[in-house]
């Protein structure tokens, strides 16, 4: 059999067999529409309400504060636009960071064209936001602060609780994109002090196309998806019942395994980082050295280009990701790396390896065997060699 070492768990995860099993009955037998009044509809409704209870409890929320969406992107769009439009009379100022996922950045960018003002908080070289900057930036016109819980590229975990204290004091809504943390490290809406929180099932071994937005009770919000009266009139559209059931099952398993799995992965992560730093010259670790997701490794392999590294790894059966321009579909390398002050020529050499349930120490050893010669070959092919990478 060909080698297949998946190290892109931050992009998406395989659905767990138990999750698929939980979903199955809802395709063919229990296929009722939860909005229908007869037995099959009521059964489907009962099932999604149980799922809602499970998801809510896992983040310390009340069930009615959970609205199911088609994924993290919808949750982010819903949060940003929903707050902005519903609170226009109060103000038109939104504070966010330059390292957010595009699902937050693009709605903000869009709102700017529609008369909103967006402030991007600075981040340090590790991609960390300073809560003091949040405090300083809030004005009487600020309606929303949106800071992600952990960054999807470099894994840095942001000081949400501190930010939450400030936004509460100032009476400004706080949204966090917890797509990368939920199911992997503890997420509690009250500890974080957030009013809105986005999550997505396919990042925690659930199905793609289902997610949720937590909306704190009393939050002034406008719906994003309009139509039928589903989700208490907050999100229209026939419920993706099987998806919701699968999401809840994934949450149930994640809760059980989170602590031990985070520990296991953090050890493998550190082993991988150490190995790369030892075996390859001119490497830069991106993201915070300690306040980072347990499964995230992100390095710049200076003097090689990210997509070329990725393709070379793929040829060896390893799946990875890069922030080079060539992988982003634009001409610029990762906006996250640039915001952290990394020069473009170095950002192009970034490689992200994210670990997960199937990752073993043998996999990491294999990567450590295979990666150095790849980098060496690409550097040798470069007109610059490695010379320019050196200080």
């Amino acid at each position: 059999m060909e080698k297949f070492i998946y190290l892109d768990y931050a992009a998406t995860t395989p659905v767990r067999p138990e999750v698929v099993e939980a979903m199955m009955p809802y395709f063919t037998e229990k296929f009722g529409n939860p909005s229908s009044l007869y037995t099959e509809g009521r059964n489907a409704r009962g099932a999604i309400e149980e799922a809602r209870d499970r998801v809510a409890a896992s983040i310390g929320a009340e069930s009615r504060e959970i609205v199911f969406t088609s994924g993290g992107t919808e949750a982010d769009n819903f949060a940003i636009k929903g707050i902005a439009y519903a609170n226009e009379k109060k103000g038109n100022h939104i504070i966010t960071t330059p390292i957010e996922h595009h699902a937050v950045l693009e709605p903000c960018h869009y709102l700017r064209k529609r008369g909103f003002e967006i402030t991007y908080l600075p981040v340090d070289e590790h991609g960390m936001v300073d809560p003091a900057d949040v405090e300083r930036t809030i004005t009487g016109k600020t309606v929303l602060v949106s800071v992600m819980h952990a960054n999807n590229e470099v894994g840095t975990i942001e000081p949400l609780s501190e930010i939450g204290k400030i936004t509460r004091e100032k009476g400004v809504y706080l949204h966090t994109d917890a797509v990368q943390t939920f199911g992997h490290i503890p997420v509690d809406v009250n500890e974080l002090g957030v009013d809105l929180l986005s999550i997505s099932a396919h990042k925690l071994y659930g199905p793609k196309g289902i997610g949720a937005l937590y909306i704190r009770r009393g939050t002034r919000m406008e719906p994003f998806m309009q139509g039928g009266s589903q989700e208490n009139n907050r999100r229209a559209g026939t419920h993706n019942v099987a998806g919701i059931i699968g999401f809840a099952k994934a949450v149930e398993i994640a809760e059980k395994e989170m602590v031990s799995e985070a520990k296991r992965l953090a050890e493998l992560r550190d082993y991988l980082i150490r190995g790369i730093l030892e075996r390859i010259e001119d490497v830069r670790l991106n993201g915070h050295p300690t306040k980072r997701l347990p499964n995230n490794v992100n390095v710049c392999l200076v003097g090689a280009e990210g997509e070329a590294i990725l393709l070379s790894l793929d040829m060896e059966g390893i799946s990875s990701s890069s922030g080079s321009a060539c992988t982003s579909g634009t001409l610029d390398p990762s906006h996250v790396l640039l915001a952290m002050g990394i020069p473009a020529e170095i950002a192009h050499s970034s490689l992200r390896l994210t670990l997960g349930s199937r990752t073993t120490k043998e996999d990491i050893d294999y990567v450590l065997d295979v990666l150095p010669p790849i980098v060496k070959r690409l550097r040798a092919m470069s007109p610059l060699g490695t010379a320019w990478g050196r200080k």
């Binding site: 280009e305 070329a308 393709l311 001409l331 390398p333 473009a344 092919m381 470069s382 007109p383 610059l384």
Partner: protein
């Protein structure tokens, strides 16, 4: 995304390296954009007798570099100059639309190398 041909050239690029004391050198791109290429040629009787490249860049950048050297090797300068981005892409069974700029780099690199040779030898096309 990439054709089999692109992957083949990426996996096993032809003519990698640098000609010592080349007759012409072309350098295009810059590391800030993520793509950079250096082509060296040896010319005998207006024919590209040898050609080598070094490239920093993505899969398409490396494959197009490799392909342009393969196409140009043994060609008269006049014809080599006419190698277009489309020629290179076609020879690779196509490139994804967002990657077309990489094949520009390869065509430009070759043209620069030929120009460099001409300027040193006073010959005009």
């Amino acid at each position: 995304m990439y054709s089999e041909k692109v992957m083949e050239h990426f996996r096993d690029p032809r003519n990698v390296g640098e000609i010592e004391n080349p007759d012409g050198v072309g350098e295009v791109g810059n590391p800030t954009c993520g793509d950079m290429m250096r082509i060296t040629i040896r010319v005998r009787d207006d024919v590209i007798e040898d050609i080598k490249f070094k490239t920093l860049g993505c899969g398409a950048a490396i494959a197009t570099s490799s392909m342009v050297t393969e196409l140009a090797k043994g060609m008269r300068l006049k014809e080599a100059e006419k190698i277009s981005r489309k020629d290179i892409a076609d020879a690779l069974d196509g490139l994804p639309p967002q990657k077309m700029h990489c094949s520009v780099l390869a065509a430009d690199g070759l043209r620069e190398a030929i120009g460099d040779y001409r300027s040193k030898n006073g010959s005009e096309s």
